[in-house]
């Protein structure tokens, strides 16, 4: 068996694993992206994230979702940096909230308060509140230790509450 024919079964297996990874976690990654860049760009973030996952397929851990969130976060940050519209996006977050009675104006304030947080603090909040990750997995997604994540989360909650209080 030459090297070419020997390589093909491996490549096929890797593609099957990639498809399984996509089907298992693609929707969660897409939701993550939509929460941060809106629906129009989220599909691109999803594709870029899984292209990175393919290129780095030997690094994908068994618990892949936090790792994928970390990659998706980098993709999102690169886009936001380039377009310099992070603040507007987080403010826009509120406008996409279902208009439950009395909530729209309040959540516009929440969007503004979120935009005032440091990016790493905001991400700590959103990984737990929106992505629903427990601290250990959220820390992996944020690329930090659990201790650091706890500190960030505590600080973020406090500062967000403070910012909301100041808006009253």
């Amino acid at each position: 068996m030459n090297s070419v024919t020997r390589a093909r079964p491996n490549a096929a297996g890797e593609r099957e694993r990639f498809v399984a990874l996509y089907e298992s976690h693609g929707a969660a990654v897409l939701a993550y992206a939509r929460r941060r860049v809106g629906a129009d760009e989220a599909d691109d973030v999803l594709a870029e994230t899984f292209l990175v996952a393919w290129r780095r397929r030997r690094e994908v851990p068994d618990d892949a979702l936090p790792w994928l969130y970390a990659v998706a976060g980098n993709v999102v940050r690169n886009r936001l940096r380039a377009e310099r519209r992070r603040g507007a996006l987080y403010a826009r977050m509120a406008s996409t909230v279902p208009p439950a009675a009395g909530e729209a104006a309040q959540d516009l304030k929440l969007g503004e308060a979120l935009a005032r947080l440091k990016a790493i603090d905001r991400e700590a909040l959103l990984l737990t509140a929106w992505e629903g990750l427990e601290p250990e997995r959220a820390a992996r997604a944020a690329g930090c230790s659990r201790a650091t994540f706890h500190v960030r989360l505590h600080r973020a909650r406090t500062r967000l509450a403070q910012a909301l209080e100041e808006q009253r």
Binding site: F18, E23, A42, L51, R55, R81, A82, A147, T148
Partner: protein
Amino acid sequence: MNDVTDRLRAANPVKEPPALPPVEPLLARLTDAPPPPRRTHRRLLVPALVITMLVAIVVGSELRGPGVDVVAEARAALGGSGGIVHVVAREERRNPDGTIVEGSGTTSEIWSARDPLRFRVHDDTFEAAYFDGVVTTREDGKLQSTRLDEAGRRATEDIDRNTGLLQPGRDPVPVIQRLLAEGKLEPAGTTDLRGRKAQRLVGSESAPDARSPGVEVEYLVDARTYAPLQLSTKATLSDGRSAGASKLTFLQYERLPRTAANERLLTLK
């Protein structure tokens, strides 16, 4: 769960998983080229000293090789390895277009000591201390303590070996010493920094993939004592575009004696 978290959850703009696009267009974009060798995860640029205290899990190695003696001499000149290290640093981050990142420009202060490890850090609004596996924070006058699990404790206790190229850690001097020994930093001549003769130490981290930036690092240390003066990082994408930069200016670096009064600087009361 508190009100803020509940309110955030209520504001979640995507409450249900969206429909997943078909995978076929993505498969058409894959190449079967073997992936690059596995590498350790590179830390993000996190310039705030408060955060760098508790992050960076990169395997360290024993101290050896050229450059170490120089730093050992510097350590002696700075007051040896004992005592309480006191660092004041101002961080500044820039966007790719050169503008200042919103919220950057904070000044942080840290006191730390070894055997056993304890430290206290604070910036304008936040304060945290570590001792014996417990992190205590104070914000708006309110104290809160968290006992770390064993992994978190080990990572924190090992901070001097875990701090990587992009971060100064608790005490930049042993970090620089180790990075020189590992060959991750190299002397690159001297320069003048605000009228002070400074030794340049440079290093770099290559991009882990095509979309991520590589990072160039420059430490400026006092040419005589090796006291840290400035840590600059510059991130560049593979096509040459800037991906941002950061500068940490060390406003103060000193080693205080372990007096009862100075020991109190290490704790939150």
